[in-house]
C-alpha cells in the first residue's frame, strides 16, 4: 500500500504533462509542417530537353536551364519551390502554394527566344543582348500593355544598324518562332531601347517581361509529366483527411479502452505521445506531408496499437497462468519484444524500399510510415511499459486487465 499514492501521483502528472504538451505543441507543429502539393495546391513538372540536330544536351546545358527556370520561378513570387536536374536531360520543378498552377507551367515551358527579323526573315538581333525588360500600359492603344526592352552595348549597336538599314520597312518581332508584331521602322533607333506591342493584356505583358529578363533557355524543354493541383482541391483534401484521421483515431481509442480496459487506457495515453512524436519528428526533419502521407500516418496509428495488442495479449496469458501482475507484465514485455521487433522490421523494409524508389506522394507515404514504425516501437517498449508498471502499482485487480 505504500507505493500506491506515489504511483497515482506520477500517472496523474504524466497525463497532465502530456495534455499540456499536446495543447501547446499541436498548433506550432501543424504550422511548421510542410504540406505537399496535393494538400497546399501547386504543381510538379518534369521537363525533358529536346535534342536537336548538332545540339547535344550536356549536364552544363541542363544546369543553365535550371538557373534560368529558377529565375523565372522567383519572378513569379511564389514561396516554396524546388528545382533540380534529374538524370541526364531532365529538370524537375515543384512549386507549392501556387494559385494558378497552369499559368505557371505556361511560363516555365517557354523557351523565350526573342529575335528581330528583317523582311527576308534574316535574324538581326536576338534576346541574348537584352539588358532589361519591363511591362507597362500602352500609351497608344487603350487597355493594352506592352513590354519595354533595353539592349546591352552590343545589342544597341546591332539594333541601331538593323533599324538604320530598314527605315520604312517592317521589322518582325519573333518569340519562339511566332511573329508577335511587325512594326514599320520610322527612323533609326540608336538609344538601345525598343517596345514590343501585340495587344497584350497586363498579365501577358508581365509574363513576357519575366521571360525576357530571365533569358532564353539553352534548349527547348518538353513537359513529360505534370501534376497541377488547384488550391480549392488541396484545401478540400486536407480538410477531409484530417476529419477522417480524427474519426479513425477516436474509433481506435474507444476500441482499445473497451477491449483491454486499464491497459487500453495506457495504450490510449501512449497513442497521444506517439502522435506528438511522429508529427514533431516530421516537422523537425522537414518531411513533406502529402495526402498519401496522411494515410500513412493514420495507418501507422493502427499499427502502433499493434505493439500494445501483442503485449497485452501476452500479459493476459501470463495472468491466466497464475502469475502475479508484476511478473506477468515483466514476462509479457520480455516475450513480446522480439515479436514486435521482427514484425516491425519487415514492414520497415518495405517502407524503406518505397522511400528509395518512390517519387512524390508515394515517397511521402513511405516517409511517414517509416517514422511511424520506429516511433511506435520506441513508445511501446519504453513509455507504455513504464506506465503499465505504474498502473500495476495502483490496482492489482485482474478484472481491470481483461482476465
Amino acid at each position: 500500500m505504500q507505493e500506491k499514492t506515489p504511483s497515482i501521483l506520477v500517472v496523474t502528472i504524466i497525463v497532465i504533462a502530456l495534455g499540456l504538451l499536446s495543447y501547446f505543441l499541436y498548433q506550432p507543429i501543424l504550422n511548421n509542417l510542410n504540406l505537399g502539393l496535393d494538400l497546399s495546391g501547386g504543381l510538379r513538372v518534369v521537363l525533358e530537353a529536346e535534342e536537336k540536330k548538332g545540339q547535344e544536351v550536356t549536364p552544363d546545358t541542363i544546369q543553365k536551364a535550371v538557373g534560368i527556370l529558377r529565375d523565372r520561378v522567383d519572378n513569379l513570387g511564389v514561396k516554396e519551390t524546388a528545382l533540380y536536374p534529374q538524370g541526364k536531360n531532365r529538370v524537375v520543378v515543384e512549386i507549392a502554394g501556387e494559385e494558378d498552377p497552369e499559368a505557371a507551367v505556361d511560363i516555365l515551358k517557354n523557351t523565350a527566344e526573342l529575335e528581330f527579323w528583317d523582311e527576308s526573315n534574316k535574324v538581326m538581333v536576338t534576346g541574348k543582348h537584352l539588358k532589361d525588360a519591363q511591362a507597362r500600359m500602352s500609351q497608344g492603344e487603350q487597355g493594352t500593355a506592352e513590354v519595354l526592352i533595353d539592349f546591352d552595348k552590343e545589342g544597341s549597336r546591332l539594333f541601331a544598324e538593323a533599324t538604320r538599314a530598314n527605315v520604312g520597312k517592317p521589322i518582325k518581332i519573333v518569340i519562339d518562332g511566332n511573329i508577335i508584331s511587325a512594326p514599320t521602322v520610322q527612323e533609326p533607333i540608336t538609344d538601345g531601347s525598343a517596345r514590343i506591342t501585340g495587344g497584350f493584356t497586363a498579365k501577358e505583358a508581365q509574363d513576357l517581361a519575366v521571360l525576357l529578363r530571365s533569358g532564353a533557355l539553352p534548349v527547348s524543354l518538353k513537359v513529360i509529366e505534370k501534376r497541377s493541383i488547384g488550391p480549392v482541391l488541396g484545401a478540400d483534401s486536407l480538410d477531409r483527411s484530417i476529419k477522417a484521421g480524427i474519426i479513425g483515431l477516436i474509433a481506435i481509442l474507444i476500441f482499445m479502452l473497451g477491449y483491454y480496459r486499464l491497459p487500453g487506457l495506457v495504450a490510449d495515453i501512449s497513442l497521444v505521445l506517439y502522435s506528438l512524436l511522429v508529427l514533431g519528428a516530421m516537422s523537425l526533419l522537414g518531411a513533406v506531408l502529402t495526402l498519401p502521407g496522411i494515410a500513412g500516418f493514420a495507418l501507422s496509428i493502427g499499427m502502433a496499437v499493434d505493439a500494445n495488442v501483442i503485449i497485452y495479449e501476452r500479459l493476459k496469458e501470463e495472468l491466466r497462468y497464475g502469475k502475479t501482475l508484476h511478473a506477468a507484465i515483466d514476462a509479457g514485455f520480455k516475450r513480446a519484444f522480439w515479436t514486435i521487433l521482427d514484425s516491425n522490421v519487415t514492414t520497415l523494409v518495405s517502407a524503406l524500399v518505397l522511400m528509395y524508389l518512390g517519387t512524390g506522394p508515394v515517397k511521402g507515404f513511405a516517409v511517414t510510415l517509416s517514422i511511424g514504425i520506429v516511433a511506435s516501437m520506441l513508445v511501446a517498449l519504453t513509455f507504455t511499459r513504464y506506465l503499465l508498471i505504474l498502473m500495476g502499482n495502483i490496482s492489482k485487480n485482474k478484472k481491470l486487465y481483461g482476465v
Binding site: L233, R240, P292, A298, S350
Partner: protein, 280 residues
Amino acid sequence: MDIFIKRRKVFYIISLLIIIPGLVSLVMNGLNLGIDFTGGSIIQVQMDSSVQSAQVRSALKEIGMERADVSKSGNQFLIRTTELDQEQTRQLLDALESKFKNVEFLSAESVGAAIGKELTNKAILAVIIAAFAMLIYITIRFEWTFGVAAIVSEIHDVLFVLGLFSLFQWEINTSFIAAILTVVGYSINDTIVIFDRIRENLRMKRKEDYANLVNRSITQSLNRSINTVLTSLFALVALLVFGGGNIRYFILAMVIGFVVGCYSSIFVASPVWYDIKNRA
C-alpha cells in the same frame, strides 16, 4: 479450435476459388491502368452541378477533343484524354470557362507514355527488392521453411488484390504499388507474429506433433491477429469513407489487402509451413 490444420485444404480451396477467377481476368482483361502507366491527361474541374456530362462532352467536341471521356460526381467533373500538351490543356480550360459558369480548376495531370514505362519498371523493381529483403530477414531470424511459407502467403495476397482489381476494373496508379507494398509488409508482419509463436513453442520441446503445435500457436495469436487488423481497418475505413476521392483506390487496395493479409497469415502461411515442414 483445431480446424486450422485439419481443415487446411478447405481454406486452400476457398483461396483458390477467388484467386483463379482473378487470374483468368488478369490474363483476359488485364488491369485498368491509369495515366501513370499508359500516359495521358486527366483534368478535374468543379462546376455547377446542373451541368451535365453530355454538355461538357459536346463543348469538348467543338475544340476537336471528341474522344475525351467525361465523368461527373456531384459538382466535380473528371475529363480523361490522350496526353495533352500545355496549349491543349489551356484550350480545354478556356473552352470550359467560356461555356459554363463558376468553373473552378481542381487539378490537371499529364504523363508522357515514356514516363509511364519508367514508372512501371520502377514499381516492379520495388516489389521484387522488397520481397527479397524480407525473405532474407526472415531466413536470418527464423529458418528457410518459414521464409518460403511467408513468400507463398505474400504471393497469395498480391494475386488476390490484383485479381479483384482486374475483375472490377478499378483503376490503378503508382500509388497502387505503394498500397501493394504496404499490404505485403503488413501481411508479413502478421505472419511473423504467428511464426514467432510457432518458433517459441518449438523451443519448449513438448511431445506434440506439428499439427497440434501449429494449431495451438495460431489459436494463441488469434486475438492479436484480429484486433490488430481491426484497429488498422478503423483508420483505413475512415479514410475510405470520409477522405478525399483522389486516394480512394489506394485506400481500397489496402483495405482489401489487410483483410486478406490477416486471413492468409492464419489460413495460408502457417498451414503451408506445416506442409513444407512435413515434407522437408
